[in-house]
Every structure is written in structure tokens, then in C-alpha cells.
């Protein structure tokens, strides 16, 4: 897959703090999760990608264009959705989105037409003529996403798009982000919510304290651990644990009361199935346990 962002030795320092420290990146087109705690350097990286800030060292390219040499050209290719409130509150959603379409270089008529289309896409077709000031948090986030994609960018930078959303709003926003990838728009999703990244991103970049922790495809990070989770209901946990232990399997109980059994192959899985059947227990769940991004982050991030 072609690179959408390339950075080499990217460094940005502010008085008293190094926001980015010699970061090398090679991000593929697709959905990339940019993960890190607050202050990890995510927003600084966005500022550098947009050419709004100048690196102290290193270089960065977007779609093969050097940001230092042609920041205006790069901005023509990028849509940006900031984390904070950033919408003119007394304008309608249609006016806001079409204005930012025009600012992105679209002719007036095309901007209004595309504003209508993308507002429809993000689920605001009914509310497009209402002032943004009367919108809920979820509607404002959708409007921000609409203005980011109205000019048909090659790359969209999304800074905490699910911030402040309720669970259903969050799922809807993630579904929209997921769809952007299928539209051929590369996405860089900055968040501190690892679940969001695991759900929609093909590639993960982890930053911690301005340093690159991980830059790898999501699949390679979420590998199998050689452990299965067995759920037979809360009343039979001890009975099953004893029976599996008697067959020579290593068994532990996790925080939710389910058994985690270390398995070496299909024979061990057959053993688990047979033991459950012999005891006459209901088998609610038997799944491979995967590494979570939390595990990766905790294990790879340097200790404070």
C-alpha cells in the first residue's frame, strides 16, 4: 500500500518540553490510529502535517509533497477535524460546510451541492438548515466531520472524533470513520481510546511522551496469545477448573470470573470440550484470547 505520510527524524520542541522526539513514520493509505495519552504529541504531529508549525529537525511529506516546501499544496489535500469546538455557532450546518468546501477550493455551486451530500452522509440531512449553536455534541461532531471531507481530501486528520459522545453516538461516529476508508480517503485517527483504534484502524502508531512506541499493522499487534477463555456460568467455575487441572491444563480465573486455559493445540481444545460435556455443564463461550492494544501500549511504552 502506498505511503500517505512519511516523516524522518521529526522533532518539535516547545520551551521546557519536547513534543516530538526524532519520530520516523511511514503511514500507509487506509485507516491509521494515532494513539497516545494526553501530551503524547498527537496534536503537534497534526500541526506539523498541516504546515501550521515548523519542525525543529527532520522532515515530513504528505502524499509525496514536502510540507516544508509546499504547505499550501499539502493543505489542499487534507481535511482536518479538530478536537475542540471550532464551528461558527450562528451559521447553519449547510452554510458552514459549504463555506469550508469553498475554502478548500471548490466552486460555489459544487461546494453547496457537496455540502448537501456530505451532510446527508453523516446523518444531518434533516438538520442542515438549523444553526450549529443549537446542535447536540454528537451533531456538532458530525458537522465537523462533514466539513473535513466536503472538499474530497486525500487524507483526513481526525482529532478525538468520539470525544464527548454517548456509546451509541460513538459507535455511529466510528462507523462513519470506517466508511471513509472505503471511500478511498486515508484517515489518521488520533485518540487515547484504544478500543476505537482496534475497531476501525488497519494500522496503529503509538506515541508516548513525543517518542514513537509502535508503528505497525493492527493485525500484527493483536496476535493470539495461546490462551482460551471458557465461560460455563459462575456456579461451575471451580468444578471445571479442578477437572481441567486434573487433566494437566494450566487454568486461571480472570477478573470477570471466567476461566483462562493455556492450550498447546487442538488436542487441548478437545480436552476442554470433553470435560465440559462429561460434567454436563453449559458451554456459553470458548474463544481465543487476543492481545489488546492496551497490553501492547502498557508493555511497549517506556516506564515514566
Amino acid at each position: 500500500m502506498a505511503s500517505i505520510v512519511r516523516a524522518h527524524g521529526l522533532t518539535k520542541r516547545y520551551p521546557g518540553v519536547t513534543a516530538l522526539d526524532a519520530v520516523d513514520l511511514d503511514l500507509p493509505a487506509g485507516r491509521v490510529g494515532l494513539v497516545g495519552a494526553n501530551g503524547a504529541g498527537k496534536t503537534t504531529l497534526f500541526r506539523l502535517l498541516l504546515g501550521l508549525s515548523t519542525p525543529d529537525a527532520g522532515s515530513v511529506e504528505v502524499c509525496g509533497i514536502s510540507v516544508a516546501d509546499n504547505p499550501i499544496g499539502v493543505r489542499s489535500l487534507i481535511g482536518y477535524m479538530p478536537e475542540h469546538d471550532c464551528l461558527p455557532l450562528d451559521q447553519t450546518a449547510a452554510d458552514v460546510v459549504s463555506t469550508f468546501g469553498e475554502l478548500g477550493g471548490l466552486p460555489v455551486r459544487a461546494a453547496r451541492q457537496r455540502a448537501s451530500e456530505v451532510l446527508d452522509l453523516v446523518g444531518l440531512d434533516e438538520a442542515r438548515f438549523r444553526p450549529v449553536g443549537g446542535f447536540s455534541t454528537g451533531m456538532r461532531q458530525r458537522t465537523k466531520l462533514a466539513q473535513a471531507i466536503v472538499a474530497d481530501p486525500k487524507l483526513v486528520l481526525l482529532d478525538e472524533p468520539t470525544a464527548g459522545l454517548d456509546p451509541s453516538g460513538r459507535q455511529e461516529m466510528l462507523a462513519l470513520v470506517d466508511r471513509l476508508g472505503s471511500f478511498g480517503i486515508a484517515v489518521v485517527l488520533a485518540t487515547h481510546l484504544l478500543d476505537d483504534v482496534a475497531q476501525v484502524c488497519d494500522h496503529v502508531v503509538m506515541l508516548d511522551g513525543g517518542r514513537l512506541v509502535t508503528d505497525a499493522p493492527t493485525d500484527t499487534l493483536l496476535h493470539q496469545t495461546g490462551t482460551v477463555t471458557v465461560d460455563v456460568g459462575p456456579n461451575a467455575v471451580a468444578q471445571l477448573a479442578a477437572a481441567l487441572g486434573a487433566r494437566g491444563l494450566a487454568v486461571t480465573t480472570d477478573d470477570s470470573g471466567m476461566l483462562e486455559v493455556t492450550v498447546a493445540g487442538d488436542t487441548d481444545l478437545d480436552t476442554i470440550r470433553d470435560v465440559v460435556a462429561d460434567l454436563g455443564l453449559p458451554l456459553h463461550r470458548l474463544t481465543n484470547r487476543l492481545t489488546s492494544l492496551d497490553d501492547v501500549f502498557v508493555h511497549r511504552a517506556p516506564a515514566p
Partner: protein, 302 residues
């Protein structure tokens, strides 16, 4: 349910890539200018926002209409040819212009900063100077239009009611055809850069508007006190302290455009090189305001 409805389907129109023409930095600046101009004159906004430009236009045009009306009513009387206002006097004397700029300049600048729209704007192919140009251009267009349009009404009206006929009036008043637009442009540039510079210093519209009025009020008061304290009187020698009156500066340049020299009633008229000093002060104020505007939008927080 009809058979047609039963076979209907909901279509997800999805997302269509855009492959049409696309502008760059210049198009983005023009778009921001159009948006700011629309906002300034209240288009696509509640009726309350349309009051200020409508009132200003009415205040600006009424004297021209009255002057033309008087000319028409007195055309065959001994009072024929009397003009109670000249083109020079008519330009820039209305305090409604100042109030309009104090109201509208903050309205097109302050919300961008207060509502944190600036990072979103500067994430587009646009720079700080482009932003400043669009905002100053919007105010310039308003002030120029509201200064120039009444003059057009006055000129055309006078042509139509003059006893000698329209062509004769045109022959005798050709100089006005360049003097009015040039003087109106000088006035509009001054108000536009001053209004945007003051408004760029605050995120609150009320504060910015009051500051604009305060700047003009304080400078005119100080100038008046200094001129009078030193014995200067209009038409009796003049005093360089009159240059401190920011609001009157473009009027001095207007006089130079129309008369070729300062008007005899000007508090600068007796000062050696008063005209050059006025031009210098005008350039200094405009240059200073542009420097303030550019510095305010040089770096933007994303």
C-alpha cells in the same frame, strides 16, 4: 400498498469523489472574502443583523435625495443652483460610517477567534495575510459602497434636475468622476484597516467595538485639547496636534484629493507642509494597522 411501492428500495447514495475544477489559495481567499462580505451586510442572517447596513445606507443616501429634491423644487426660482452639500463635504462626514465599522468589523473577525474557527480556516489552503486581505477587503467594500453610492445618487440626480441639462452638468463636473472614487477608496481603506486591526486584538465583539469608538473619541479629544491649548483655531494658523485626530485624517486626504490643498477651515491649514504631514500620518496609521493585523494572524493555534 401499490406494487410500485412494494418494489421500492432505499438507496445509500454513499460518497462521490469530486473530480471537477479546484481552486487554490486565491480561490480560498476569494471565498473567505465573499463569506465575510455576506456576513457584514447581513445576508443569510437573521433580520437583526441586516439592520445596521440598511440604516447606514439610508442615512448615507438621504442627504443626496434631499439635495436633489431641493434642486428639483427650486429649479425655476431665484434659489436655483443652490447646493447645501458638496461632493467633498458629503464624503466621510457621517458618523454612521464609524458606527457601522465599529459594529461590523468585530462581527466578522472576533467570532473566528472566540469560537476557535481560525485553526479550521488555516487548515485550508490559506495564509495569515490571505485571511487579513479577505477581512479588510470585506469592510473596504462595504465602506466604499456606502460612501460611493450616495455620491452616484447625488451626481445622477443633479444631472437630471439641472436647468442646463445633463450633458452640461457632466461637462462642468468631470473632475468629480475621479475625485469621488479615489477619495472614497482612501476613506474605505483607512476605516477597513483600522476596524480590523482593533477587532483583531480581542475575541469579544463588544470590547472590540467599544475600543474602535474609544480610539477615535480619545484621539479626537486629545487633539482638540492640544490644538486649543496652544491657541490654534480653525482657520487661524492651525496646529500639528490636529494630526492626532485619527478620525479626521482621511478627511484631510479627501480635501487634498478634491482641492489639491488642505481646506482653509482645517486645523492643519496653517501648518507648514500640513498636507504632506497629513499624508504621512495617514500612511503611518494604515501601515501600523496592517502590521498589527499581520502579526495577529501570523501564528494560529491548531
Amino acid at each position: 400498498m401499490s406494487a410500485r411501492a412494494a418494489t421500492g428500495a432505499v438507496y445509500d447514495r454513499g460518497y462521490r469523489p469530486y473530480d471537477g475544477p479546484r481552486g487554490g489559495r486565491r480561490a480560498a481567499t476569494a471565498a473567505l472574502y465573499r463569506t465575510s462580505l455576506r456576513r457584514a451586510i447581513g445576508l443569510r442572517r437573521p433580520w437583526r443583523q441586516k439592520v445596521a447596513p440598511a440604516v447606514l445606507l439610508a442615512i448615507a443616501v438621504i442627504p443626496a435625495v434631499v439635495n436633489v429634491g431641493v434642486g428639483y423644487l427650486t429649479r425655476n426660482t431665484p434659489a436655483e443652483g443652490f447646493e447645501f452639500i458638496t461632493y467633498r463635504e458629503y464624503l466621510g462626514v457621517s458618523s454612521a460610517l464609524l458606527l457601522f465599522v465599529a459594529l461590523v468589523a468585530p462581527d466578522i473577525v472576533c467570532p473566528d477567534r472566540r469560537q476557535r474557527v481560525l485553526p479550521l480556516i488555516f487548515a485550508r489552503p490559506i495564509t495569515g495575510p490571505d485571511y487579513a486581505l479577505a477581512k479588510v477587503g470585506a469592510i473596504f467594500t462595504c465602506v466604499f459602497s456606502f460612501s460611493f453610492l450616495p455620491q452616484v445618487v447625488l451626481y445622477v440626480g443633479q444631472m437630471l434636475v439641472t436647468k442646463g441639462g445633463a450633458l452640461a452638468y457632466l461637462r462642468h463636473n468631470t473632475a468629480v468622476l475621479w475625485q469621488v472614487p479615489v477619495a472614497a477608496a482612501i476613506l474605505a481603506l483607512f476605516y477597513a484597516v483600522l476596524g480590523i486591526a482593533v477587532a483583531s486584538l480581542s475575541g469579544r465583539r463588544m470590547v472590540a467595538g467599544a475600543s474602535m469608538l474609544g480610539v477615535t473619541l480619545v484621539t479626537s479629544t486629545i487633539s482638540g485639547i492640544l490644538v486649543r491649548a496652544d491657541g490654534g483655531r480653525p482657520g487661524s494658523g492651525g496646529h500639528p496636534a490636529a494630526l492626532l485626530n485619527v478620525l479626521a485624517l482621511p478627511l484631510r486626504i479627501r480635501d487634498l484629493v478634491f482641492l489639491g490643498h488642505l481646506h482653509r477651515d482645517s486645523p492643519l491649514s496653517g501648518v507648514a507642509g500640513g498636507g504632506a504631514l497629513a499624508v504621512g500620518a495617514y500612511v503611518a496609521v494604515v501601515g501600523g494597522c496592517i502590521a498589527v493585523i499581520l502579526s495577529r494572524y501570523r501564528s494560529v493555534e491548531a
